[in-house]
């Protein structure tokens, strides 16, 4: 930040003096920017959280509206031109029952064109949770009941996978965010106490972390999740899942915080602050926290994937989020057996965002970890 105000003379010394006066965060940003994969990861993460914010707008049909006669419909690709004229549309599907297997077989019907438009009218929702509207990014022109589109096909109950994926993204990624936040609070508190005070309390916390880490987590999560009463509301289940996954997720963050505390406690500037008569709270908040903030941010980023995998796994098993709530795990539940996937491979589409976001968070966190100590 300061660097931009410095007028430098001559090219050779320009970069050097910029580096010398640049703030810590400026240096970190420069180093982070060099890590191409980390930058790409950051954009992907930002993109996913935009989906979280605008999920309702991006969906075009009610995620829980089901049409039994349209079950397991394959994805309908968008055709942009009609006889050389720009007229985006999808081809309607006609379903027939196979006389031998009694399965519904669908074929695109070139006669049945469903025209699409931007900002089409669809089901009503509140934009950003505030403004009531029924406009969606895309949708069939003039919302007739028989004009439906299924860009990613439909599931066994005939629900639109695209729309469910948008809403599911919101659930899964906000659970991840909430879980990380809770873990972070626990991690900073316990790791901070452990690193700052040392002694028996440090020993106690460290040994507890070791015990927690040597317990296989999934059976434990399953046990805790299964204990949730069946009649809980979606919100209650959501909160409970968040608590359950962060209950075991804080250990790594606590370890990082403690490590930084131990390293900084011996630094000269901490001693100087102590001699100058600063209170403990001030030393921690004003002198130590800024010095290891970047490390914490990196550790937090790297904690996201585990949170997302946990929620997805639990919901996949039927112990996490439950219908009518929609999350990535709930969507993947439909893809639990080979027969289902072999017949309708599009049920596996929700696996793609799971993998992409985990990769993105890993790259982003890797870059942050490298940049966290810009003086090194």
């Amino acid at each position: 930040m300061t660097a931009t105000y410095i007028e430098t003379v001559g090219d050779g010394s320009a970069t050097e003096s910029k580096v010398l006066v640049a703030s810590q965060w400026q240096l970190m940003w420069w180093r982070f920017r060099k890590h191409k994969l980390a930058m790409a990861g950051t954009f992907v993460v930002a993109f996913f959280y935009l989906v979280v914010i605008f999920a309702d707008f991006l969906a075009y049909s009610d995620p829980n509206a089901s049409e039994a006669y349209q079950a397991l419909l394959p994805p309908q690709p968008i055709h942009f031109f009609d006889d050389g004229v720009f007229a985006p549309h999808v081809l309607g599907m006609t379903g027939k029952r196979d006389p031998q297997t009694f399965k519904r077989v669908y074929a695109p019907d070139p006669e049945k064109k469903v025209p699409l438009r931007l900002f089409a009218e669809g089901y009503s929702y509140k934009f950003l949770g505030l403004i009531p509207t029924n406009r969606h990014l895309i949708g069939p022109v003039g919302a007739l009941a028989e004009d439906t589109i299924f860009l990613f096909g439909t599931d066994m109950q005939g629900r639109d996978i695209w729309s469910r994926l948008m809403i599911g993204t919101r659930t899964s990624l906000t659970i991840g965010l909430a879980g990380v936040t809770l873990s972070l609070l626990l991690g900073i508190l316990l790791g901070g106490i452990s690193g700052f005070y040392g002694g028996w309390i440090d020993n106690l916390i460290q040994r507890s972390i070791e015990v927690l880490k040597s317990i296989p987590t999934i059976p434990l999560w399953m046990g805790l999740a299964a204990a949730m009463p069946r009649d809980w509301t979606v919100v209650q289940v959501y909160l409970a899942i968040t608590v359950i996954i962060s209950l075991l997720g804080w250990t790594e963050l606590a370890r990082v915080v403690r490590g930084r505390f131990l390293a900084l406690r011996e630094e000269d500037f901490v001693m100087a602050a102590e001699l100058a008569g600063c209170s403990r709270a001030r030393i921690i908040a004003r002198h130590m926290l800024p010095a290891f903030m970047s490390h914490i941010i990196a550790a937090v980023t790297l904690a996201f994937p585990a949170m997302i995998i946990s929620e997805t796994s639990l919901s996949f098993l039927g112990l996490g989020m439950r219908p009518p709530a929609v999350s990535w795990g709930v969507l993947l539940q439909q893809a639990q057996n080979v027969q289902a996937i072999a017949i309708s491979p599009w049920l596996l589409i929700p696996a793609i965002p799971v993998i992409v976001i985990i990769l993105a968070f890993n790259f982003m966190g890797d870059g942050m970890r490298d940049a966290a100590d810009p003086y090194g």
Binding site: S214, L224, P229, L319, L332, I355, F363
Partner: protein, 330 residues
Amino acid sequence: MVSYLVRRLFMAIVTMVAISVLSFAIIQLPPGDYITTYIAQLAADGTSLSDAEVLALREQYGLDQSFLVQYLRWIASVLHGDFGMSMEWRRPVSELIGERLWLTMAVAVAAILLTWALALPIGIYSAVRRYSVADYAFTIVGFIGLAVPNFLLALALMYFGYKFFGINIGGLFSPAYVDAPWSLARVWDLIKHLPLPAIVLGTAGTAEMIRVMRANLLDELHRPYVKTARARGLDERRVILKYPVRVALNPFVSILAYLFPYIVSGSIIVSLVLGLPTVGPLLLRALLAQDMFLAGAIVLLLGIMTVIGTFLSDMLLLWIDPRIRLEGRS
């Protein structure tokens, strides 16, 4: 070394106690208890119990006692090998778990062995031939291996197996051996079926281990002792394998202590997808049916198995690293 051993043993026991408390808490968590379930079952059959009878039953099962007393009773019977009765199956829990527990361990150990067998040579290769095409390829594959949750990997492998080879992969035995008594042929059949679940479970760990091995070995390769060995005319293979690899092996073994619980816990969910006869499917079913004695026993046994595995890996570290072995002697 003795003090290290004692400390490790003590930690293992503390962990086991913690796991047993957690397992019992899981048994106790759902609203209602065994008697409530029993009454509901009787009511479904058309009989009902008087209040006095209910009270007598509660007393008989010790359900009117505090959490602590109930826990101590439970743990005492567990120590005698009695895990209680499964409400759903109406059979002793130990009978239900029996073979499945060993198969769970077989899958986990196979995954660990595979992780080592892959990560060790690949890690060494990636460090020695840094920035080569193969190094980049392994890095990319490793990242993807880390990013794909193993149940998704299992689903994907099953899909491709079905689509391109027309086979239904999964299970741990061929149909002929599923219910057969144990014999050498059955063991061989099991060994033939282990690689697939081992690959699915081992990918993430392998990716992690490769990165650890590569980083550690890179640190060692620039040390003067490596140069000395080379200058003395040792051939390259010996220079690398005899000294730096041995030093780099240390974190490789210590990471095992965290890898083991991770793999055991992953095996639960992968077993469900691949249809493996491990405790995984049994645990899920027990939890969904609130068959709590069965579920609690499975969580407890998995935890204890893990603690033993972790303890053994620490012993391995003790054997490999003289610094720990000789600690406190000088």
